[in-house]
Amino acid sequence: MNEREPVLSVRNLSKTYMQGKIPVHALTDVSFDVKKGEFISIVGPSGSGKSTLLSMMGLLDKPTSGSVFIDGMEVTKAKEGDAPKIRREKIGFVFQRFNLIPTLTALENVDIAMRFARVSKHKRKERSVELLTQMGLEGRMKHKPSELSGGEQQRVAIARAMSNHPAIILADEPTGEVDTKTRDMIVALLKELCEKGQTILVVTHDMDVAEKTSRRITMRDGKIASDTQQ
């Protein structure tokens, strides 16, 4: 396992917000590596810095200091203009509230991510159908998000995150809005994707989800409290 190259490296990452005149240290000197095909969870109580960490890794926010490397590239040094390219080529996002575009069908919601990557129409269609079929949604492709269950919506979101073959999928509380049965199904699906070689990082406060991942990082007060293989 150890000879695998890290897909994601976090080095001495710190983030300080100003709340009025009082500095809030959301992250302090966080470092860790994620290897290809790992299914890793980051847990911790709210305010422990796990969501901030996710934003930094996803180039959705800038750190105060430290670096994030994805596929050996220091993304925290990337120019503002390069961020979209890195996001669509290296990272797939899965959000708590699914965040599908309500006016588009399941198929179009997967398709749109590839549009921004300028994938040809034919290839987009092929890939969308392939992914949705893999997610067990072959009969629901023409449905709008409002016509899909929470579990189905999240599977569409996962298919969308996968569409551009990202180096890593960052999932923010992916089971936060679904019942336990659906939760188990989603976690099983993510695990299956990892077994096929996809690297997935899940931020969650649900210990039942964290227990099913192969590695668990626990955050407390902006620092790593523990990092355990399980």
Binding site: S55, G58, L60, D61, P84, K85, I86, R87, R88, E89, F93, F95, N99, I101, T103, L104, I112, A113, R115, F116, A117, R160, N164
Partner: protein
């Protein structure tokens, strides 16, 4: 991406409809006002080409106040530099009207028709010939308004003041020719032989205008001044003065058109901006999400500006269609009343559509900029 824009527009039918109606209304105003301006421009250009080669001589005290007579015409003709000078009697067709608008009975010497009407063609019949008594050549609007063809009769009335009362005479004139549409005053004339007109109106020696054709190589402005100096109690309009006067009145028309366009821009622009601001703030999360998925700023700009531009174009088409229909029926109606005042030219349609599109793009760009600048994380956190 165009399909996404169309999706977004059609998804919000009522709002899109209302916005398009707003722009449509603005463009409608541009079409109607522009149509009027276009008509006047055509009218003036043609009118200038028809009339502005002559010096117009009128009585000093005004159009209908003073009088000119044959001796004055002869005097004008004798001035060096004058190639030809001839008189016209210009009377309102409707004796009750003030005589500034509407149709006119014009008495002219048949021999001078070629010089007066220049290259105006006839759609029916023939010109007047010497010896034609109660016969007439009419303008296209007269024919349209009164539904006349060659061979038909037109009743003309004259009013004469005898002591304290008035006597109204009426005579039928036979239509022998109908002129083509020119967009000028000639569309409103009932041309009759000068001698017949004078007899009918009991104005044996009177003339309304004297039209002067200068000799080639003679400066018309100088000649006009010489006429004023040599002939008593006359005022002249040289071609340049005529042109200037017309151009001045065109400035007013242009101002009306311009202000209507500005008004349209404000109405249409605000309605697009309002709709787009609403649409953008409603979709804040969507744009944040798109950015998280790796959308470039130009992708978001394309989607939002494109939506605004498309609404502008659709509204523009609506306004142009509405304006065209309005102008068509208005012209039909006005023609039956005796006056056409609108013209739709290809130039006007192109300008109206470009205007609508630009309006869409410009008023869409502020909301679009807002959408594109959104930080993905902030956008996502909004509920």
């Amino acid at each position: 991406m165009l399909d996404l824009i169309i999706r977004s527009i059609t998804q919000r039918k009522l709002r899109t409809g209302l916005t398009m109606f707003g722009i449509g209304l603005g463009i409608f105003a541009v079409m109607v006002m522009g149509g009027m301006s276009e008509y006047f421009t055509l009218h003036v250009d043609r009118g200038l080409s028809l009339m502005a080669d002559k010096i117009h001589v009128l009585p000093e005290s005004g159009f209908f106040g003073g009088s000119l007579d044959d001796s004055k015409a002869r005097k004008v003709k004798s001035i060096p530099g004058v190639l030809d000078a001839y008189g016209l009697l210009w009377m309102p067709y409707d004796v009750e009207s003030l005589g500034f608008f509407g149709n006119f009975v014009v008495g002219l010497e048949p021999e001078k028709q070629a010089a007066t009407l220049k290259d105006i063609k006839l759609t029916e019949g023939r010109l007047l010939v010497p010896g034609d008594g109660y016969r007439t050549v009419i303008g296209s609007n007269v024919a349209r308004q009164l539904k006349l063809h060659t061979g038909d009769e037109i009743e003309v009335k004259s009013k004469q003041f005898v002591r304290a009362s008035t006597i109204t005479h009426s005579r039928n004139f036979t239509v022998v020719g109908i002129m083509e549409f020119t967009g000028t005053d000639f569309d409103y004339i009932i041309g009759v032989p000068l001698d017949t007109a004078r007899k009918f109106y009991d104005m044996e020696d009177t003339l309304t205008y004297i039209w002067v054709i200068p000799e080639p190589d003679v400066d018309a402005d100088d000649l006009a001044k010489r006429i004023e100096l040599n002939v008593e109690n006359v005022a002249t309009f040289s071609p340049n003065q005529l042109r200037k006067q017309i151009e001045q009145s065109m400035v007013v028309v242009s101002l009306i058109t311009l202000s209507s366009a500005v008004l349209a821009a404000i109405i249409g622009g605000l309605s697009i901006m309002n709709t787009m601001l609403m649409s953008v703030s409603e979709r804040t999360k969507e744009f944040g999400l798109m950015k998280a998925m790796g959308a470039e700023i130009r992708d978001i700009l394309y989607l939002t500006v494109g939506e605004a531009a498309l609404m502008g174009i659709l509204g523009g088409v609506l306004g142009i269609a509405g304006g065209a229909v309005f102008i068509y029926y208005m012209n039909e109606y006005l023609a039956s009343m005796g006056a056409v005042i609108f013209a739709i030219t290809p130039r006007l349609v192109v300008i109206a559509l470009l205007f609508a599109t630009l309006l869409g793009i410009m008023s869409g760009s502020i909301p679009a900029y807002r959408a594109a600048r959104m930080k993905p994380m902030e956008a996502m956190r909004r509920e």
